[in-house]
Symmetry: D2
């Protein structure tokens, strides 16, 4: 067991060293592919993984180029990069046992964040020398641990494939951050005939390691989008009247978006997180760029916010005679875990002695694009759940000093294999 | 001369007693008509005076009814009231000498203001017992003096008609306040073939009585309008989301109207003078009513402001999903007096010994709908001017204690007759 | 039983005829006093009922004068009016049995609303001739029924006083609407040593008559206040720079109040219900008056909103160099009913056959100043609950056609007497 | 003459190649110094030129470092850089003839702009190979020509110094752009005893080369400043209430700054040219940075705008509980040229045959910190003027394709020497 634990820790640390932000996971995709290649899976890459046109929130070409060069330098073969270089990252692995049985799917997200990792002496990745080698990017949300869990599960299924039945689909998904990547996988059809769908997150709740939650409540539905106002510049001294002021259009939108009426039906959120406007002090600004998100306790409440937002943004543009473009970046619905899977998980892990506290559900209180996959599975009459593996968080997710309690890697791995075993017997 | 002076003062005081706000000048119109009836003029009333559809800023029916009853009580015959009762007030008097000569026109405005006259012991109309008998209405802008001047001029022309040549048109115009009445007279065509057009104001500049200005500069073009936002009410506790907030639409419009960019081409103004919104503390407001005006140093600058205002008001309505109505109230262009008439006036009054200081021009700095008449005259190749007869103002125009220096009545009367005489000889 | 039912209906209809808005309940107070006078209670009036300085949201003197004249005309003796004429309305009745036992208190609110009652043929008070005789005022929230219940309970206690123990305090409270009156009673100390406190509302939930809820959840804490901005007027054409614009200060406050950040801890509300600003189109507005309310799921959440509101209002005044006054109008905390009293009520009414459906709690979702009394009782270690007596609502509370289902009068009366009897045996 | 013309063109092109933005004119200062060194002037550098603490709008240290390295590479000696490296750039050259006579001063501004010069084939500096070698910086306002004129004047005075009388002060001033540099020279006292002060601009009015204006009207007084709001970040989903939103503070300031009331006394301007706020979509923004300017037809009107701006900015910070810092960047008063110098210039150039059209004054309509020098000279009873040397502008000042009509170099040079000669004879 100690050996397995070490193996998992090594895998996680390897991925921790080369975090890549969403849709640029060229090295990550390659390393996952390399790990799965020797096994009995059919592997899918590039346009076979996702529907290119359904991706949102893609980075600029210059980012792709930089990541390409970095991957070449790392040693990813040029032929491999052909599959992924335009942002078609991620791997899907399928295995058909040939025996009748359920279709089991699991999803592991693989992207890093645009955060510069702390080099503080108190930060273990620094002192134990597995800190990010990609300056300005970091696995600050634990997706390195998710990859690790997924690869272990893949090996386990491969190893026991003669004792298993039905079909297995393991999804290593790009660009979960800003809830951008799931949609393109869903639209490709991968979730259309899944019977049991599992996914999970390490951490989140600040509870002792050993705690497992069989399901999750309180996903906030969310829409992420950018807004670009385009007006007309003019000399601010000579003829301010000739300008169509984009800075004012943006300011007006920001204020009024925050004034959207609260909803009697439940919690809602709005945020204009950033705004960049104008080119010079004595010029009427002819550009403003805003990054915005709406949220709601339900998909309907989020939709209420997004609809109001669109109205307000258009009116702000009209008021200052600007053109305006709303650029979709990401989207996640709310979701409800299947009660049957809560019971199944609880039964499955009955004898798992890594678990010290087993809960039916814990609250999430944020957004995850896995909800888009869960929604499709449920629509197609499958069942879905999202588990949590909490640990004591010294620094929260997305913090430059965030770190995994690596003991949860083994815990998570064991829970997934327990579930597979249980479903084989009880489906 | 003392006799004439007294006669003018008596006339002015008679009109001062029954001020009537714009388009309700039923008694005033009747008294002017009565005074002109015995003379050689052709008189025009009602729809012959103005184009009904071109009037703006009409009062409510209830105001018409109240004024009707008041006029009946005063003694205006019912048959006469038929001409004016729907707001078609004012009189036009024409006289054709039958001899070839120029077409001379003059305009005198006749309406009072919705101001309650002061009953203070220091206020002469109170102590000398000619204070307004119409509570809440007052001749606080001197139009009682303008009527007086006009009636004197009418008598003078009538008396000397055998020595005169050409044609005369005397316009006693309704509803100058809020620049509402002139347009409907212009649209009727009365100014289309005028050769010489004169009008004037008593007071305005705070200079010694005896000062005369042959012309006026710095008329501000102006547009007056009301805005009514109509939204949807909702319980502010239970479902604020269900409302379309008119109070916020109005507030938004007010702020952004004030933020219209200054114009490099000259002075502009905007004011939202009043706003009334909402029905109760715990209800989302479903109504907002705003009284607004724009101004500009030129007609184009005022138009710039009004165009921007319309855009902003529509966008404010859109932002809070309100319907909106823009209700025109009044309009005045800018104007430039004809240089030829400055010379003519100066020549004409050369021997007028009531004048102590004769100026080419003085600045107005406000709006007057006479500019609409001047504009038409100039377009048709006539000449026009607007004279000022200043006096020392203890209280400004529109103040509850405003009063005329009655010595200017004779001055103004004498200047008008000098001009008529001059034009007869020099045209 | 039919006789009692009729008696209750008659009482309710009597009070329905002369609704009086908060702090002007001169006739109402007199009639309650008259009804209690023959009984064994000690009665308190005027400054003995409430702490004058703790009242908020008082009407203008002119309203007091009008109500005084009306009461005189109705037949209220001048000597009696001395107690109430300055807004010190309401009655408190106490009875000490002389035997050891608990202190029982109940509160009945007595004010009407500034709503004009419907004269529609479908409206029973119209057709059965007990419609409001006070034009513009109406018992549209059922407080006439509350008074009725309270008076019946008073009679019942009086009648059985020899079989009862402990002390009784019956509070007929003024000015519940806009949550204004309770505070002044609490500050007088009346709730400081109460063991069991009961209050209730007729209607609210739209459920079949016969339903009783032993307690109520989801009171929204609320603060009601007015805001008066005072700036400086100036001529909008001549020198707009000289003004301090109150209309803009008010507009700015309204927009930014609506933009107060949502709270992660639960529901909040804000509403600027009305705004009146400015005096004329061409004058910079020097006054703005706003009616505002904040709410929160808890007292803390409401306090968060009110604190933010104060900051914003001050800053809006500063931005346009206005003075500003925040005028408190009313206040209600949230409240939680005592679990022990839920059990007590359920036991007490076990054999009450008017009840068809007995519930532990129902949700309120609005604000009530009774929460201020409950808070004080709980602080002093007493127990408190607030019951609901729903019926099927054709028109909601505060609607011009609101009407009571009069069958609930007997139901409510019987529940209160059941409770008194139960407490006598079980305290 | 052709030789002189060529010499001037060469000098101008040399300076055109190494434009340096305000306070980083290390190479420029060195080259001016080198040119003056052989002459009879006393030269002042560094803290002798300006009062360090009176400078505003200094660049970051990193900019100084970059410019230092660039100057080293260019060949400026380290010892020389000691004088200027902390932003104490510019040169002052004085010459005392020893003979009684007036104190003549002239000012030439030397800085470039942060604009990338056009490499278009139609742009002469590109095709004739004197385009800026400093990417992102450009002499797009003609200061290269100003330096050229100043150096020629210096040589001329030096050469004829035995025929001249009185004293001469030639000011090569740093950082005119954004009106930042003049103040520090004035505060050092250099303008305190000047009798005749001359300065000028090439271009500005789009008139045929050969036109000279002896004076300039319509300088706009202006204040340039930056504003930094500092709030508090918070997770926009979890607890938006915990943030103090700087993006909203900035937006609010921008809107309300534009709503400052127009001034009855004359033209005013305001512009928020740029705003940068926030760090991420799902974080409440805790920083906003705005670049702002106010202007006014007079110093008082500009002061009115700046005072209002300060009030609004503070209130915007208060409204969203932000700290705020107002960072001065530059300042220029208005100015009026001395009538006596208009006459003097006209007399002086009477026989100058480069001039095709001589005007008393032309309008400027923008801001120049030379006005701060003129103001000091006039206060001390000296006389001052600012001349214009228009030419036909294909592209306006500050445009990436702006270019001088090099024929005006000789014209300007000749006018300055004419003036010196005239003053010698006529003072």
């Amino acid at each position: 067991m100690t050996e397995l634990k070490e193996q998992l820790i090594n895998t996680r640390r390897k991925f921790h060293r080369f975090p890549e932000v969403g849709f640029t996971e060229f090295i990550t995709t390659y390393e996952i592919y390399k790990a799965l290649k020797p096994l009995a899976y059919t592997l899918y890459l590039g346009d076979d993984v996702l529907l290119r046109s359904a991706r949102v929130g893609l980075p600029d070409d210059s980012v792709f180029e930089k990541s390409y060069d970095r991957a070449i330098k790392y040693g990813v073969p040029k032929e491999f990069l052909e599959y992924v270089k335009e942002g078609t990252t991620g791997v899907i692995a399928t295995l058909d046992t040939g025996r009748p049985g359920p279709h089991f799917a699991a999803r592991f997200d693989i992207d890093g964040l645009p955060i510069t990792e702390s080099e503080d002496a108190s930060h273990k990745p620094k002192t134990e020398d597995f800190i990010s080698l990609h300056h300005g990017e970091m696995h600050a949300c634990g997706h390195d641990g998710h990859i690790t869990t997924g690869l272990y599960l893949a090996e386990y299924i491969n190893k026991h494939r003669d004792q298993l039945k039905g079909r297995f689909t393991l999804i290593f998904q790009a660009a979960e951050e800003s809830v951008r990547g799931a949609k393109s996988v869903v639209e490709k059809g991968w979730l259309d005939d899944v019977d049991y769908f599992f996914s999970s997150h390490l951490g989140i709740r600040n509870l002792p390691a050993g705690t497992v939650s069989a399901a999750t409540t309180d996903f906030l539905a969310s829409t992420k989008f950018d807004v670009k106002f385009s007006g007309k510049s003019a000399h601010a001294g000579v003829e301010p009247n000739a300008g169509n002021n984009s800075l004012l259009a943006g300011s007006l939108a920001a204020l009024n978006l925050n004034a959207i009426a609260r909803h009697g039906g439940g919690s809602t959120r709005i945020n204009v997180g950033t705004m960049t406007a104008g080119s010079g002090r004595n010029v009427i600004a002819d550009q403003a760029y805003l990054e915005i998100e709406t949220r709601g306790e339900t998909k309907e409440l989020n939709q209420y916010m997004f609809n109001k937002a669109k109205t307000i943004i258009q009116a702000a543009a009209d008021m200052y005679e600007n053109d305006v473009e709303i650029i979709p970046v990401g989207e996640a619905p709310d979701a409800e875990c299947s009660a049957e899977l809560i019971d199944a998980v609880k039964e499955a892990v009955k004898n798992n002695n890594h678990i010290t506290d087993l809960k039916d559900t814990l609250s999430f209180g944020a957004s995850e694009d896995v909800t888009m996959m869960m929604e499709r599975v449920l629509e197609k009459n499958g069942k879905a759940t999202y588990m949590l593996f909490p640990f004591e968080l010294e620094y929260g997710h997305h913090h430059p000093k965030f770190d995994l309690d690596e003991s949860v890697l083994l815990l998570a791995a064991s829970v997934y294999t327990d579930i597979v075993n249980y479903l084989m017997k009880n489906d």
